[in-house]
């Protein structure tokens, strides 16, 4: 029998991982166990409201969310600090870990965001040769890129990040945090206006304080 991968809902392109844990209204949404810091990959000014995304490059829901996030960021220039943290669901997405490593390895050569964009480019697979060709396109030192991809330290960093994500209430991908509190959007595909409104509400709260 042929493999039945990927899971049915993913195969249909229905975001299958944007499920939320219980809101637990008494305590409010879960918060990041590790605050945003300079150890994170981030875009945008340090003082701005943070938008953190835990993501898996092979997750269809994350792929679908990517352009939405980019549009929201573009519509709020200099007002948001966007942070990416890895949460590869390796059992279901066999290339997710390698893709996360590719982003980290590119980051060591100053090209994290360029690689991030390519990994979400809608042109197909994340197979090994593709990761290498992305590295080539970005003008990376390929020997160093290969060595970093194989670096156990980077793999360990991704594992630690994932465990902290679980402890922060990441139940699937993508999961977002605005100002370090989990964003409880409607179930289903990420909605541009809804995400933007939540960020604007946070900006507004900041201004009033």
């Amino acid at each position: 029998m042929a493999d039945v991968t990927p899971p049915l809902d993913c195969a249909r392109g229905v975001p299958c991982d944007r499920d939320r844990g219980d809101p637990e209204p008494a305590e409010g949404p879960p918060r990041l166990k590790r605050p945003v810091s300079d150890d994170d990959w981030s875009r945008g000014p340090a003082g701005a409201v943070s938008l953190v995304e835990y993501l898996d490059y092979q997750c269809p829901a994350c792929q679908a969310a990517h352009p939405v996030v980019e549009r929201v960021l573009a519509s709020l220039p200099d007002r948001v600090r966007f942070v990416v943290r890895h949460f590869p669901i390796v059992s279901a997405h066999p290339q997710a870990q390698r893709a996360a490593l590719a982003a980290e390895a590119a980051g060591r050569q100053g090209k994290f965001w360029e690689m991030h964009q390519r990994l979400f480019a809608p042109r197909g697979a994340l197979q090994e040769d593709q990761l290498l060709s992305y590295a080539g396109e970005l003008g990376l030192d390929l020997a160093r890129f290969g060595a970093d991809m194989a670096d156990e330290g980077l793999a360990a960093k991704i594992r630690r990040e994932k465990v902290l994500g679980v402890r922060s209430g990441v139940n699937g991908t993508p999961t977002f945090y605005i100002a370090e509190a989990r964003y409880e959007g409607e179930t289903g595909p990420l909605r541009e206006e809804e995400l933007k409104a939540a960020i604007l509400a946070e900006l507004d709260r900041n201004q009033r304080h």
Partner: protein
């Protein structure tokens, strides 16, 4: 019937599933805690992401002396395909015939023919140490389980 509460005796059971027959009391000889994750339906979206998460967190559970067993009313052939499609290496059990009999014993069988999305932690004495029924469409996550296991470890 409401879900079995903390301190209740966990009914023993034996079910077939993705990796053969599993008996709770046998598992409890091999590990300190067993996490029973009842879920409504294999291949549905929330169940898939919930069990994917438990697969990812398997090592953390093991570090705290716990192993996961997932249970739904689907047949063992469905469970085999579901486990294979998602790379699930823990047992996915078929509470298939009589349908939902184990879910019934744990008080988590629904009127619509599916099990609740419910979590139990059973200790090696066969006692329920943690009991939680999630909203059916919500992934309950793993943090609550890790927290409960850590607390048990601290109290032990």
């Amino acid at each position: 019937m409401a879900a079995l509460p903390v301190s209740a005796k966990a009914p023993d059971f034996e079910l077939d599933g993705s990796s053969g027959r599993v008996r709770l009391s046998d598992l409890l000889k091999e590990t300190q805690y067993v996490i029973l994750a009842f879920f409504p339906a294999s291949f549905s979206s929330v169940c898939t992401s919930e069990l994917n998460l438990y697969q990812e967190v398997k090592d953390e559970f093991a570090r705290l002396g716990a192993r996961v067993v997932a249970i739904s009313v689907d047949s063992k052939y469905v469970q085999q395909a579901f486990a294979k499609a998602n790379g699930l290496t823990f047992p996915v059990l078929a509470d298939f015939h009589p349908k939902g009999a184990v879910a019934e014993q744990y008080g988590v069988m629904r009127g619509d023919g599916r099990a609740e999305r419910a979590l139990f932690i059973v200790d090696s004495k066969g006692i329920v140490r943690y009991s939680y029924v999630s909203e059916i469409a919500k992934n309950p996550g793993a943090d609550r389980l890790l927290e409960a296991l850590e607390q048990m470890k601290a109290e032990a």
